[in-house]
Amino acid sequence: MKIAVCVSHVPDTAAKINIGSDGKSIDQNGVTFVVNPYDEFAIEEALKTKEKFGGETVAISLGGDANKETLRKALAMGIDNAVLLKDEGYRDSGSVAKALADEIRQQGTELVFFGKQSVDFDNSVIGQMTSELLGYNCVSVAVSFSLEGTSVKCEREIEGGKEVVETTLPAVITAQKGLNEPRYASLKGIMAAKKKEIAEKSPSPAANYAEIVGMKKPASKQAGKIVGTDSSAVPELVRLLREEAKVI
């Protein structure tokens, strides 16, 4: 079986975010980029599935040369091949999904793992969109995945519990934390990944359906009131919650 995993290259979650001079994007100075945390769960699930059923794995990323770093990480963890769809410009999520869908179609993979969300624009939509473009079945926000023949069974996280979802291949699964424990890349894996070739392709062009017209920092909240330093402050705290905030 051919298995694909789509990975994005994003600012470290601890990075300080400043708005760039165009007022529409972030200032990348001093920002460290990493593989999207959710995509590590996707990579791990692709590797586990290959270990169980055999086959070949490919990691796909759309973006600039910097994304090669994330693709190398996927290779170091054990993914067989990597493809960079090279495009530096702004693409909205629909346009990213179209490029990914075209590449997946060409690769002929019938099982594709995504992260549930890219922690840059926090969209959580590309997996679902790509599946619809491909006509594949899709389970998003999966915390468990099992495959038997062509039958897929997943649990997905919802408010107040989980849904058990059943479907069949070809399928797209988007990974939520809890799906697995991503492995660390071994030294051997890291060395091997350095020597591997990353295929570079031009993604298919697609129109943007949305445009960022402004970016701003959230209104900084005034640090609040320290009501006290021990339990004697509790009656005052409760009074404030009742009379000032009116939340209890």
């Binding site: 999904a97 926090d122 619809e132 408010e159 979802v165 949305a210 402050a233 905030a245 939340v247 209890i248």
Partner: protein
């Protein structure tokens, strides 16, 4: 542009979600500014509370197999209805179901998408959607440039003032829905209130010192009618289930009141709860970053402060 809006009304087990009233109200407010119209679409078997919507008409697509969510069937029904009736914008609550459906339907109706919106405004007759990015460290204003548009609205942010209306219900029987992907079972987490849906949340972190002390979190949550949450440190230690984790890799919440007990306020935790309306922190470290976003704080030992809070709230509630 006709400004013909369609709102998806989500039900689980036959009960309508609060976030759907919020989405309907937000859509109605926008429509009033551009002389547009709003209708609703609901999918399921028996659904209670539909007529309470303050919008003119709700289309109920009914089938016994659609009691549970089916991504494939729901996507098909919504997209087809949208396309055949000349709508131009589609609204969802950005719930687990809404976030799954919005991107799927956007593809089918060939629309641009703004997900997890926290504000919607009209500028030059166009809807401008504001949404948090980079874990809430920035906000973007997004303009959808395609003729058709999909918006998903973050729950608990928009006012629900349309819950006492009298919508006309039009029933559509669904013949053989597309069940290629279907939910075969719902596993509820012990019937407790979920952080994603609660008006008040009490969360505990590493400062709770161990799973046994979460009794305190639960008790305070109990007297407040709140849901229990946790930091990743508490979840990773195995003290609490992942479903309770608030933050970047957990759930994003915007309750009226968020109480953080023994939580330092790491950036990834703040990502999930900074849009709460009021934040209370109890932490013994006066320099803990949580105090920078808390409205009210007590710098002290939670093992002394929390029991006093439980008592005081019990007293005023009785």
């Amino acid at each position: 542009m006709a400004n013909k809006y369609l709102v998806f009304i989500e039900q689980r087990n036959g009960a309508v979600k609060k976030s759907s009233y919020e989405a309907a109200s937000a859509a109605a407010e926008l429509a009033s500014k551009v002389s547009g119209t709003v209708e609703g679409i609901a999918i399921g078997n028996d659904i209670e509370g539909l007529q309470k919507f303050g919008i003119s008409k709700i289309h109920h697509f009914k089938n016994a197999d659609l009691l549970n969510y089916s991504p494939s069937a729901y996507t098909e029904i919504i997209s087809k209805f949208f396309n055949e009736n000349g709508f131009d914008s589609l609204f969802f609550g950005a719930t687990a179901m809404g976030k799954d459906l919005a991107p799927r339907t956007a593809v089918h109706i060939d629309a641009g998408l703004a997900i997890d919106c926290v504000a919607l405004n009209i500028a030059e007759n166009e809807i401008i959607a504001t949404r948090p990015v980079f874990a809430g460290k920035a906000l973007i204003d997004l303009k959808i440039t395609s003729p058709k548009k999909v918006f998903a609205l973050r729950p608990n942010v928009f006012n629900a003032n349309a819950s006492s209306g009298s919508a006309e219900i039009s029933l559509h029987e669904v013949q053989s829905p597309n069940l290629k992907v279907k939910v075969t079972e719902l596993k509820k987490s012990e019937g407790k209130l979920d952080v994603a849906e609660a008006d008040i949340i009490v969360s505990g972190g590493r400062g709770m010192k161990g799973p046994e002390h979460f009794k305190l979190v639960e008790e305070l949550a109990d007297v407040l009618g709140a849901a229990c949450g946790a930091s990743r440190a508490a979840v990773d230690a195995g003290w609490r289930p992942h479903g309770e984790q608030v933050g970047q890799t957990g759930k994003t919440v915007s309750p009226n009141l968020y109480v953080a007990l023994g939580i330092s306020g790491a950036i990834q935790h703040l990502a999930g709860m900074r849009s709460s309306k009021y934040i209370v922190a109890v932490n013994k470290d006066k320099d803990a970053p949580i105090f920078q976003i808390a409205d009210y704080g007590i710098v002290g030992d939670l093992f002394e402060v929390v029991p006093a809070m439980i008592n005081e709230i019990k007293k005023i509630k009785s």
